[in-house]
């Protein structure tokens, strides 16, 4: 029989193992327990990961994304916006990037003054510039206004932002928190902008809940996903009670508000939440995605994540639980962002260069710690850790495999199109590909994207062959006799997959069936198949993927093969 081991991964994989000897099982359990909770950054996989790459290539890899170039693409610097070195050594705000963009007319003292009036010093900076009409999206943290405090520099700052967009007489200030939360913050000397103190602002709450609510909501969602043989009602009620889709919709609604303000009202927007590194990032990056088709390309999406998330201090290590730390800091903020993007892909199947796999892969790597990009909580921290010298970057790794992530339906258009998502409730669906990613039985058994990719891959080769034949035909044309050269047709469709993430049980896979009830009345054999199916294993998971472990009693028969591979992995 053996001793069962249940592993919950952060990327929502659930793995059951059965290990023959109880002793071994406890050993594995204890080892994993320790390995999955590193204390020092240096213990993370990225610092030992070695893809046998040349040192120079590694360096080039880190330079793949250049944010200065990205701002140039947007049309910045220009007459209204310029780069500032006020945060050169992270002295004004230690969670921001070193290179920041602010209105040309504000002076350094104004910036510094404004930063003192903002939580964690996160003063308003440019996030996205819409060159079609000069409207801009800016981001910051909440003002330290308390009940009545004011700050002249901060007011000047906002006015400068407003003036940098001559096309509009006002600027939206969007507080992404629910109003009650913002009011509560006033008691702690924080709060929100008072419309009377700032000229020409329009203040707006959009009501996205905080990281703690989101964490609990995900917890409830995962409980629903793991129900054994739930009825339709159990599932829908559970989904509703988790509130997860409500939160996803709130983020989407807020982002859509931003993109409408910019594209339709020609108005600039300043966005903040409490510290401006969670909700603010979600909303700003999604608004960028809606406004700018560049971000919907494979490369552009990397740039977007780098620009809004990594460089501006989203606390990846804390939110993703990289190191043993405060569990209250953990929250699926990035996951929600990825899910919103997936929702957009579902709604606009031809608008994105990448597909669902790309999103899942990126999501996987924020937890895997195989690459340095997401390690640490700010650029400053990454610099101190010498991430660029000691680890590899995820982006070139993904870019190399871009063929896999391509959406065959993608229709690049010459002109930029602004997406207008429909945010009616039925557009927000449960993302089975994410939360039940490893319950293969629940996934569609065939993929249209795969067939299309195959068809498209086939195309150039075949066209070549046709071309080839035509030419030979021409050569022979003189004699008017049919050609006779033996020609090999290469219609090989698939190159073997670069990477095997998990071994699929091919023989049982196609026959897998999920019958909610009634199975037991017929056959035990199917039960056995089901159990085997459930024990998928983790060839490629890193110990950082492990979320929780449990020794549970399962009715699975011992499977030596699993154990062997598992031990192999441990030895490595």
């Amino acid at each position: 029989m053996g001793c069962p081991l249940l592993i919950h991964c952060k990327n929502f994989r659930v793995a059951h193992f059965v290990i023959c000897q109880d002793r071994d099982c406890y050993d594995v359990y204890n080892s994993l327990l320790r390995l999955s909770k590193p204390v020092e950054y240096e213990e993370l996989y990225a610092f030992s990961y070695n893809p046998k790459q040349k040192e120079m290539d590694r360096g080039i890899g880190w330079k793949m994304i250049d944010l200065r170039k990205e701002f140039q693409r947007m049309g910045v610097p220009n007459e209204h916006w310029e780069e500032t070195d006020v945060n050169k050594n992270y002295e004004t705000c230690n969670t921001y990037a070193a290179n920041l963009y602010v209105p040309r007319e504000v002076t350094k003292p104004t910036i510094v003054g404004s930063s003192k009036f903002r939580s964690k010093g996160r003063f308003p900076v440019l996030s996205y510039y819409f060159k079609e009409n000069n409207a801009a999206i800016c981001r910051c943290s909440q003002p330290l206004s308390g009940f009545s405090a004011r700050c002249v520099e901060d007011e000047q700052m906002l006015q400068a932002i407003s003036r940098s967009n001559p096309g509009s007489s006002f600027v939206y200030v969007v507080d992404t928190r629910p109003k009650l939360n913002a009011i509560a913050n006033r008691a702690a000397g924080k709060g929100y902008e008072n419309e009377d103190n700032y000229t020409n602002i329009r203040f707006q709450f959009v009501g996205i809940e905080n990281i703690h609510v989101m964490r609990n909501s995900l917890q409830k969602l995962l409980e629903v996903c793991e129900l054994k043989a739930p009825s339709m009602s159990d599932f829908l009620t559970g989904l509703e009670n988790s509130g997860w889709l409500r939160h996803i919709k709130a983020v989407m609604d807020a982002s859509f508000f931003l993109s409408k303000a910019v594209a339709e009202e020609n108005a600039s927007v300043l966005v903040h939440c409490s510290d401006g590194w969670d909700r603010t990032v979600q909303v700003c990056s999604l608004a960028g995605l809606l406004l700018d088709s560049y971000y919907r390309t494979i490369k552009g999406f990397m740039v977007l994540v780098e620009k809004e998330w990594i460089s501006m201090g989203h606390k990846f290590s804390q939110r993703c639980d990289h190191l043993e730390g405060d569990p209250k800091e953990i929250s699926p903020v990035f996951t929600q962002f990825i899910e919103c993007v997936w929702n957009l892909i579902e709604q606009f199947p031809c608008a994105f260069e990448f597909n669902e796999k790309y999103l899942l892969e990126i999501h996987d790597h924020i937890y895997s710690c195989q690459f340095g990009n997401f390690i640490g909580n700010s650029q400053k921290e990454r610099q101190e850790l010498k991430i660029q010298e000691r680890t590899h970057s995820l982006w070139p790794f993904l870019f190399e495999k871009r063929c896999q992530y391509r959406n065959p339906l993608y229709k690049p258009s010459a002109i930029n199109t602004v997406l207008k998502p429909n945010t009616a409730p039925f557009n927000f669906k449960f993302w089975c590909g994410m939360y039940n990613c490893f319950d293969r039985g629940m996934q569609p058994k065939q993929s249209v994207l795969d067939s299309l990719q195959t068809a498209m891959k086939q195309k150039p080769e075949l066209e070549e062959a046709v071309e080839d034949l035509n030419q030979k035909h021409l050569c022979l044309d003189e004699s008017h006799s049919p050609f006779a050269l033996p020609i090999k047709l290469s219609t090989e469709k698939h190159s073997p997959q670069m990477q095997v993430l998990h071994v699929s049980h091919d023989n049982t896979e196609k026959d897998k069936i999920q019958l909610a009830d009634g199975m037991e009345t017929i056959s035990d054999e199917i039960e056995k198949t089901k159990n085997v199916m459930e024990s998928s294993f983790m060839e490629q998971s890193t110990s950082n993927h492990i979320d929780s472990l449990a020794l549970v009693k399962l009715n699975v028969q011992g499977d030596e093969e699993h154990l062997e591979i598992f031990q192999d992995k441990l030895e490595k």
Binding site: C225, P230, M232, D234, L236, T237, E240, G243, L245, R246, Q347, F348, P349, C350, A351, L409, K411, P425, F426, N427, K429, F430, N436, G441, M442, Q443, P444, K445, Q446, S447, V448, S451, A455, M456, Q458, K459, L462, E463, A465, V466, L469, N470, S481, P482, F483, A484, L485, P486, I487, L489, K510, D511, I513, L515, A516, G518, T521, I522, S523, I526
Partner: protein
Amino acid sequence: MEFAELIKTWKVDDVVVSRPLLQPARGTLCLTSHHLLFSSRGAGSLELCLLIRNIDAIEKSVQNLSGYQTIKCVTEPDGDRFVGSSGIITVKCKDLCIWYLEVPGMEECLNIASSIEALSSLESVAHMYPFFYRPKQASLQQGCDPCTPQVQFTKLSAQTSNWRLSYVNQEFRVCASYPEAAIVHKSIDDATLRTAAKFRQGGRFPVLSYYHTSNGMVIMRSSQPLTGANGKRCREDESLLAAVLGPGMKGYIIDTRSLQAAHQARVKGGGFESKSNYPNWKRLHRAMDRSRVLQESLMKLVEACNDQSHSIDRWLSKLEASKWLSHVKVILTTACLAAQCVDREEACVLIHGSEGRDSTLQLTSLAQLILDPDCRTISGFQALIEREWLQAGHPFQLRCASSAYSHARLKHDAPVFLLFLDCCWQMSIQFPCSFQFNQHFLITLFEHAYASCFGTFLCNTEEERLMLNVKRQTISIWSKINSPSEREQYVNPVYERNDLVIWPSVAPQSLQLWQGLFLRWIQSAEHQTEAYAQIYHIMAHSRKSTQANSEMATANKEAPMPRCQDRSEAV
């Protein structure tokens, strides 16, 4: 003709027609005996030709000048008071679309409304539009009978000689809801069948529904046995079932009622096969909901879909409360169970509920879709519908009399067929390359089952169709679907024949709301259509180049001989 008397107003000008996703259009409205016609002038003109039969419910209201938010119901035309004002007629269709007609003049409005009501309440089948529909190209014979029991039997006899075609039901003497020919086990003679039929409700004795080529197992269907409270038995019925099982074989009887319901049925003369009288047959009870419950489920679902003001929580709780997806799950699960018995357990299956004309047919047809790749083609699916629904006596006329909006609480209507189509769609999204048809095909069948210019879905049984001469006097929908110009639009561009048995997932995570059908009139499908066009384009292109290539290759293969001759000649 009697239609003329029902129409109080033939024609109204200056009518504004609108529906969600469509710009309102102003034009002329006409009523004919079978249609509501509308034509607008000018650019972006709207032409509407709505079958009266398609109208499920109609509501009248006064246009409130201060804004149409407060719509008041008008109970009685109140003389001249309404002259000069206008009224809104809300036309709710069986295909789930809702039209708003703004008619100037209260009287005109009420006349139009009552005319539509009168016309749409005509129940006589012989007066329905299919009997008048005569398009130029189509001939009446085209596309009839793609699959008669005879055709099915010819196919079957190529594989096994254990079954025979019986004409015991000639002139529908044994069972009114069966076709005249039925496939039964060869060792059972017609006399036995006659006696066994008396022991089954409505005379629906067990007949062959599907033969599984790979292992010779079969799915049969029937109605419940009439054991009654005293546990009557019928040797002929027992021998009929015993004959199906060879030595050492086992069988499963899937009863679509709960055990309790089956017990209760005995009081009314129905019942179930007892273990002792039917050895080797094991009964499995799977409770599936019936007409009233299903109809209410559809109404609730459509109501939830039509209200866009919901928050997510409200939407999810309404979706849950409608129970629609629960029904889908139960049906698919039970169909899988039946297929499982045949393919995995190597056992024969008999399916019945009480009448054997509703849930039974859902199961037999879905199980075939799982097991038989032929059913997943366009022509195979047509044959399946012919066999398992039309000839098997699904009472289309009763079940599809009203759809989601009707206020007339009819006792017999139920979206049994729609649920079946939904299950097909669920399977098609899980196996997007294994079905030759697309969702447009399924939606077309849904529409025509409820209201059609074709005669295919008229009446409840083959007998009724024969009496009304439906096959001679109306055009079959298959003739439209199979015409080369039409067929293209139903083809799934990524279809590639898959000879395997396909097992759909029935986990709630895998089942989805069929947006293409239920939100068709509510949400723009612009981007999905664009994606579909793109898929179509890619696949067409790929096929063309493959084809060009293989032509070249064939030309190439044939080439060597003459060339060698050339050479030898030259030498």
